[in-house]
């Protein structure tokens, strides 16, 4: 059966759906605009077909992102970065658990030496996972902790080392310089490291996430994203704009505060949730 006819009202409603999911007006206009020709030529039968085409359009954008780096080096070093409170430390706990379950030996590095009790927080995650952690005193040089972590990871023959960093706004020049230094020091200790630099993004974030991704990418060459807090009501639609512009893959999504609340990213599911 043929459903609702595509008219201005339908287009407005779909615009509302996309903007409300945080895709942003630009990406929304591009997605809908890209289908105007098909609408005009009557290639889309009804509103449902238009929705399906938009879903496919979103999936396609994710389909064009780069692949996350394979874990070939030993240790494979992952550096985790992002603005304050997005879920970096928690995500590291979940990721470590996920990798451990695959039989990999994991080690954590507590290079957030700034925030009160950040190392204690990561330590609790290390205990939950049952993996070793490298930490120093609060206020220590984060680069030194990162260096020590890679050194210990090499020495102990672990498979993956994951380094936590302090949350920082991408607009703070000195803190972004500090992050560059951590990145550089890791590379000095081990050639080719860090093999992954993951930006953690909070799904409740609006259009600012695009600036976050651009500026962290400029500073430390991101290899991928993890989108957290998708267990709430936010859809995380700004990730579509980021995927389109920076071609960065979403490696995982976070769906809760527990050890097993990390999921592989599924572009179809993600696109469907935007309309659901």
């Amino acid at each position: 059966a043929i459903g609702r006819k595509i008219d201005d009202e339908v287009l407005d409603e779909l615009e509302e759906v996309l903007v409300t999911a945080d895709l942003g007006v630009k990406t929304t206009a591009e997605l809908i605009g890209g289908l105007r020709g098909k609408v005009r030529r009557k290639e889309l039968a009804d509103a449902e077909a238009l929705k399906g085409a938009l879903r496919a359009g979103i999936e396609e954008i994710f389909g064009r992102t780069a692949a996350p780096p394979a874990m070939t080096a030993k240790p494979h070093v992952i550096m985790v970065v992002g603005v304050n409170g997005v879920g970096k430390t928690t995500t590291i706990g979940k990721l470590a658990s996920h990798l451990s379950a695959q039989g990999k030996k994991v080690m954590l590095g507590a290079a957030d030496t700034f925030r009160a009790a950040a190392a204690e927080q990561l330590e609790i995650w290390a205990q939950r996972v049952g993996c070793p952690i490298v930490r120093q005193k609060e206020g220590a040089d984060p680069s030194a902790v990162a260096y020590d972590t890679v050194e210990a990871a090499v020495g102990r023959g672990v498979d993956v080392a994951i380094i936590d960093t302090a949350g920082r706004l991408h607009t703070k020049v000195n803190l972004m310089d500090e992050l560059r230094k951590i990145h550089r020091v890791i590379g000095k200790k081990m050639d080719g490291a860090p093999h992954e630099v993951i930006l953690v993004l909070d799904a409740t974030t609006g259009q600012n996430a695009l600036n976050q991704a651009k500026m962290f990418n400029e500073a430390v060459q991101l290899t991928g994203l993890i989108l957290t807090k998708l267990d709430g009501t936010a859809k995380g639609g700004v990730a579509v704009a980021i995927a389109g512009e920076l071609k960065l893959p979403i490696c995982y999504v976070g769906v809760g505060e527990h050890l097993d609340d990390l999921r592989p990213f599924d572009a179809r599911e993600f696109a469907e949730a935007i309309f659901g």
């Binding site: 509302e16 903007v19 409300t20 999911a21 945080d22 942003g24 007006v25 630009k26 603005v83 304050n84 409170g85 997005v86 879920g87 700034f114 925030r115 009160a116 009790a117 204690e120 927080q121 330590e123 609790i124 995650w125 609060e138 949350g167 706004l169 991408h170 607009t171 909070d202 409740t204 974030t205 609006g206 259009q207 600012n208 996430a209 600036n211 807090k229 267990d231 709430g232 009501t233 936010a234 859809k235 700004v238 505060e257």
Partner: protein, 296 residues
Amino acid sequence: MFDNLSDRLAETFKRLKGHGKLSEANIADALREVRLALLEADVNYKVAKDFVAGVRERAVGQEVMKSLTPAQQVIKIVREELSSLMGGQAEGLNLIGRPPQVLMMVGLQGAGKTTTAGKLARMLAGMGKKPLLVPADVQRPAAIEQLKKLGAQLGVPVHDSDPGGDPVDICVRALGTASRLGCDALILDTAGRLHIDEPLMAQLERIKQKLQPGEILLVADAMTGQDAVNVAEAFHQRLGLSGVVLTKVEGDARGGAALSIRAVTGVPIKLVGVGEKLDALEPFHPDRMAGRILGM
């Protein structure tokens, strides 16, 4: 894409030069630009729509139609309406009533509750009060430790919470600690939670019931997108918020969440967090926020 609403409106009206009087269609074009700017700033879709509808009335009135500088005139109206919608003037904390005064921090995970609790303790101490910090987050790893460290930095006492305890009991016991130490204000740090988490929202209601806080502050991240309205509405419905603290305002987020939250709840934004350090707490200025949302 959109740098500055002024430029965009100037562009919109430039085409009119020499065509004489402005028409309602011209105004509609200008308001379309305003709406886009609001959406770019993360103002909620429905809030932006209602806001523009409200501005339309004033804009099609004499003020703009007869103006020689219609772009500036539209901006003036939009800015005035925005800042009046956000409360017009800075509103302070409610610290009247019989001590101890209770301030309760609530909000989503990672919004900045614990840090803001520390900042408030510092602010109250600076006003000559004797605050007690109360860690009622038994959920997040090392949350109690985090607040203890902030208290130690400030020289402000921290209630000795039992990590295995129940948050409601912790808060009730903290009343005893406060009277023992002669503290006249309690700052409750609660665990971050989703607004759709029924048991955890009910827990906040119980804390409210037992301690009758004079301030229930929603701590919200200035970078929040369209979902801000759902979150704020849910917390307000359950708890009756008395104020909002907007955090991480020193970044480059345009802060549409401020307008969205204020518009759907009517709850005033009282303070803004402008950094990670404990002195980075400032009064909220509606007009400044209006300018920022408009990208000016």
